[in-house]
Symmetry: C2
Subunit: 302 residues, 2 copies
């Protein structure tokens, strides 16, 4: 069964690991969010693609939830001591990857090609594709003003309420391989990521949204909420303010016309109405739980 997964960062990466554990990596293509990519200290950083890479290579820090295990912070401490830009936490090992990627991008290699090369070097089997090779940036509108995603999320600690989400750039083309993978897929999955800032930036690529709208295979999304609450991050506050609530129906509304089923946690009692409800335990407390969730989602998509 050929599967395409649309994924954001941490939750998506965890789910991707479960998928590989459940069904192997050979038939899996992961389309990653690049809306929260940023330039920091002149380096091109792709946090969501990296979370996926690190998780699938077994290099991720389980406890911290992002970045690499056994990470050290000497370079950033020096940057800090020298009065440099130190608001974005870059570990030394993580930095090594950013240096390689940034150098390759500057030499003209597309992000999709660099990502494939990094995945190969890390022994990662599934294809990991950025949604687009073009510059696509998520902007967050708040009562305090508009902020680039990472400024809102990291520098301001995502405290500002969100009135809207916008995507900088024009009609981006999908990265090479994305439409082909969706066209060949037996099932399309949407990871338990924040709909607005992790999945919408992928769907902001018109060709990808169009491919999902024209799908002839099931598309199943996993809700990132458990009992109406986000496991981590501001998804619940964003849904409450922008969609009017945090029920499965509100989550499904984020993917209107694009999904056939929503996998929700058992603790979310009802809904959605518009698409099929699949209830299970969605909290990925460990790899075994991620795998069980992935198996349940694959069943639902079969």
């Amino acid at each position: 069964m050929k599967v395409v997964l649309l994924s954001g960062g941490v939750g998506g990466a965890r789910f991707a690991r479960g998928l590989v554990d459940a069904a192997g990596g050979a038939n899996l293509t992961i389309v990653g969010n690049v809306g929260d990519d940023l330039e920091v200290l002149g380096m091109s950083v792709s946090p969501d693609l990296d979370s996926i890479l690190y998780a699938l290579a077994g290099l991720h820090d389980e406890e911290r939830g992002w970045g690499r295990a056994g990470e050290t912070w000497e370079a950033l401490a020096t940057v800090s001591a020298l009065g440099g830009e130190d608001w974005f936490r870059l570990g030394d090992r993580d930095l090594g990857l950013h240096l390689v990627r940034t150098h390759a991008l500057r030499e003209g290699e597309p992000l999709s090609a660099v990502t494939a090369r990094l995945a190969r070097a890390l022994g990662v089997e599934p294809a990991i594709l950025p949604a687009t090779d073009e510059r696509l940036r998520t902007w967050i509108d708040t009562p305090a003003g508009s902020f680039a995603f990472q400024e809102w999320f990291v520098a301001r600690g995502h405290r500002d309420e969100v009135d809207g989400v916008r995507f900088e750039g024009g009609a981006h083309a999908a990265a090479p391989g994305v439409l082909e993978a969706i066209g060949a897929a037996d099932a399309i999955l949407i990871a338990p990521s924040n709909p607005y800032v992790s999945i919408w930036p992928i769907l902001a690529v018109p060709e990808i949204r169009g491919a999902l709208e024209a799908r002839r295979v099931p598309c199943v999304a996993v809700s990132p909420l458990v009992g109406g609450r986000a496991v981590k991050g501001p998804a619940d506050r964003m849904l409450a303010r922008m969609a009017g609530g945090t029920t499965p129906e509100h989550v499904a509304g984020c993917y209107s016309g694009l999904i056939d089923a929503l996998v929700v946690d058992e603790s979310d009692p009802t809904g959605p109405n518009a698409v099929r409800r699949v209830a299970t335990k969605t909290l990925m407390t460990d790899l075994a739980a991620s795998r069980r969730l992935a198996e349940r989602v694959l069943e639902a998509a079969a």
Copy 2:
């Protein structure tokens, strides 16, 4: 006594520390070589300026002779694992400085301004100036071909014999402050650095060479050789091949018309003839030795 020191990397940095120890840093301006600067992994690295910064900030690795003490190598190990450019050894702390400098240069700050800012942040008192803010690169002609300095020095381990040294770029302007410092100096010193690849690139800036030729104060060079042998590096082999020998006379010949005295080691029995000979112990085995050498050189220049 206002002093200007022309300096290369390791030996020059060591001598600079001795000078600060002997006479304080307030009246010292160090003009550093930028001919061995390089771009590695998209970062702008200035090895000689950094050796001086680290030595004067007390951050240098005494044993290794270059880079920072207590250095770690996680980022480079990652670069290596990912198939990136790993021939030039960049430690994690060192990397932090390169990131700050590269980012500033990309934003349009001149190298002299960045260097001053880094020096301030590290609590370094003497003014440290690059010879020029413009791109000046040392090229090495060898029987195996021509190489950019660091390719010859690091990547090829400076094994190739040197037939000639050239400097890429046109008639560079001296960096702001350099000519003013030379004009106001009571003495000009040339550090015990490799004449060809550490000092000549400084003298390749026509305004600096001109200022030394027109000097009205003593200029004293310190030979980098002890008993006709380089303490470290290829200076002796280069002198033997390009100047025809490694005596004080051959060293003085590298600075023809620019110096009034050459400080040589007691183990070098005779010469030079063209300029005054000052013999002392020149081997800088520790900070006390560096200080004694600096005191002797300052006396000779008084």
